[in-house]
Subunit: 351 residues, 2 copies
């Protein structure tokens, strides 16, 4: 098991750089694929799942080579280790069940990863920091083509890629962008904006996908429909919406930093001051305070802090990461104490 | 006018040292005296008041000599300057009216001061840091004897010292102790305690005397009755009550620092973190936060901060001091901004 690396590093997507990275945390392209000549997951027996895992695993680790180090079978991981993968956005919650045949392969920088036997045989994910949808798509597409040549995909000339769930049929693609929108939350414009977005067939979710709340003012916008649209149309649609959300957020930031300058400075600096001194910190309050500090870092109000540090703290303070770094399981108060310590220690260098 | 000195120094009583200074801010002895052969204030004409002021002033500045530098006639001060004297506890609010004959004399360390023509001809005040009632009394008494020899006091063998208000007749003495009781406030024991105290003829007030609220968990306990009791009885009574209040506060501090250790550390450290970073701070919130930081300093939870710094901040952030140090009058938001700046700048040195 080479999960040790996860204790102190973050994936490329949390680096805090890339275009528009003051607002856009990351861009993600996900492809749902199934191998031809194999039963889909709902009908496959255990040995078939295991043989798919074995052959895809062999290809990724040996032929491709970039997945040598980070290749894990769910069954072989502890619960905490599987949660770490969830927190790193490498696997879904569903995939974290320790069932035979389930595996995850990732490049060392966690930019490109493949879930094996999640809902489909393959879920290819490309995750990049900043707003880089097309770049992410080109990279994912190249990799996908090579996989396709090697394995052969279940594909219908009429419908496109065939997938376990009909919502994924067609391109099999889901594209999403993770945005940090604290100013729109402060000015209370966020709900209106998202009502408008959901009318045009895009989905808005919190940090950890469907059904999770948007703690920390982090919102994920993604396409809903996959069928009957070209990849290009999907991109264009998402990109234009994201561009206007970014513009709205920028305007809201300007407004709170001019009209309410002192109040905003007060709020962002206090959040920073508290995070530097907390001894007990719930996950919810932390997300709230980190969001304010990230806004301070992005707007120059907190000149010494950088977005990367804050992005890393979002990750290292998640429960499984906290427990991994403490070396044991923690109850709620212990987690709140440890979370406070991690943040305090990390921010001690900044003034 | 030599009020400039007040911009950067504090009186001896705010030094934060002396016995029990983790809990006792200061001890105060006040004597109400009237000169024989003169009308009391209610009946005195303006020229009589001015002649009293002139002769007492001459004595203090020339004969005694310690009052050369800090001698002010209310009429000659601006409103802001008079408020500064109130904030420094050198004069009462009543005395701050710019009326002829009203004056204040103080030693350079503000330990000993005399209000001339406040409610009585003379109000002698001895103010010391920490719990030093008897020491303060001895000093005040020596000074008072010399004044008495020089001027002659209105005195009745039956009633004692005669004063404008019957509540002061007798010893003419009021003794009070300023206590910082944050732990008793946190554990909600304070009300019960003070109900008990008020039954035994002691008064409990906030930082700025009668009718002011106990912001910052600062409480002043003083004797009520002056008639029919010896000075010694008054001291013994107050001292024994103060001793038990101190013991209760110590126990409460121990309790919140053992049973609720992490919560208490969290609370005190956060208050410190916020004060180091605030940009907008109301007087009320400041008192609340400074109280927590003072508790942290006194109990070793905040090892780098000292009580003196906090005591000084209680003073330098009062409205008139803020305005004096800014050099102009300030509206509420400007005061809140300036107050935040003074505290941030002062605490920047502590980590």
């Amino acid at each position: 098991m080479d999960l040790d690396v996860f204790g102190s590093s973050v994936g490329e997507w949390l680096k805090g750089d890339g275009p528009e990275s003051d607002i856009v945390i990351s861009s993600r392209v996900r492809l749902a694929r199934n191998l031809s000549g194999h039963n889909f997951l709902a009908r496959a027996q255990q040995d078939e799942l295991e043989s798919i895992e074995a052959s895809v695993g062999r290809y990724l680790r040996e032929k491709d080579g970039r997945f040598k180090r980070l290749y894990f079978r769910m069954q072989e991981l502890s619960e905490m280790e599987r949660y770490i993968l969830v927190e790193r956005h490498l696997i879904s919650r569903e995939h974290s069940r320790a069932e035979p045949g389930r595996a995850i392969a990732s490049t060392d920088d966690e930019r490109l990863s493949v879930m094996i036997n999640e809902e489909d045989h393959l879920r290819v994910q490309m995750l990049r920091s900043g707003l880089r949808l097309e770049e992410a798509w080109r990279e994912a597409d190249g990799f996908d083509n090579r996989l396709s040549e090697h394995f052969g995909y279940a594909f219908s000339p009429k419908y496109g890629y065939l997938t376990a769930c009909p919502t994924n049929v067609g391109t099999g693609m889901r594209v999403s962008v993770m945005l940090h929108l604290p100013a729109l939350v402060m000015t209370r414009e966020i709900d209106k904006l998202f009502r408008a977005i959901s009318k045009i067939n895009l989905a808005v979710r919190g940090l950890y996908g469907e059904g999770t709340q948007a703690y920390g003012d982090l919102y994920q916008i993604s396409n809903q429909a996959s069928l009957g649209k070209s990849e290009t149309r999907i991109f264009e649609n998402l990109e234009s919406v994201v561009a206007s959300v970014i513009a709205y957020e920028r305007k809201a930031r300007e407004r709170i930093l001019s009209a309410d300058k002192i109040k905003t400075h007060d709020r962002l600096w206090r959040a920073f001051g508290m995070l530097k001194t907390v001894h007990l910190l719930s996950s919810e309050e932390m997300m709230h305070l980190l969001s304010a500090v990230r806004l301070g870092a992005s707007t120059g109000v907190l000149p010494t802090v950088d977005a990367r540090t804050i992005n890393e703290l979002f990750l290292f303070t998640q429960p499984a990461h906290l427990q991994k770094n403490t070396g044991r399981s923690l109850n709620t108060q212990e987690r709140d104490t440890q979370r406070a310590r991690v943040i305090r220690d990390r921010l001690a260098a900044f003034n």
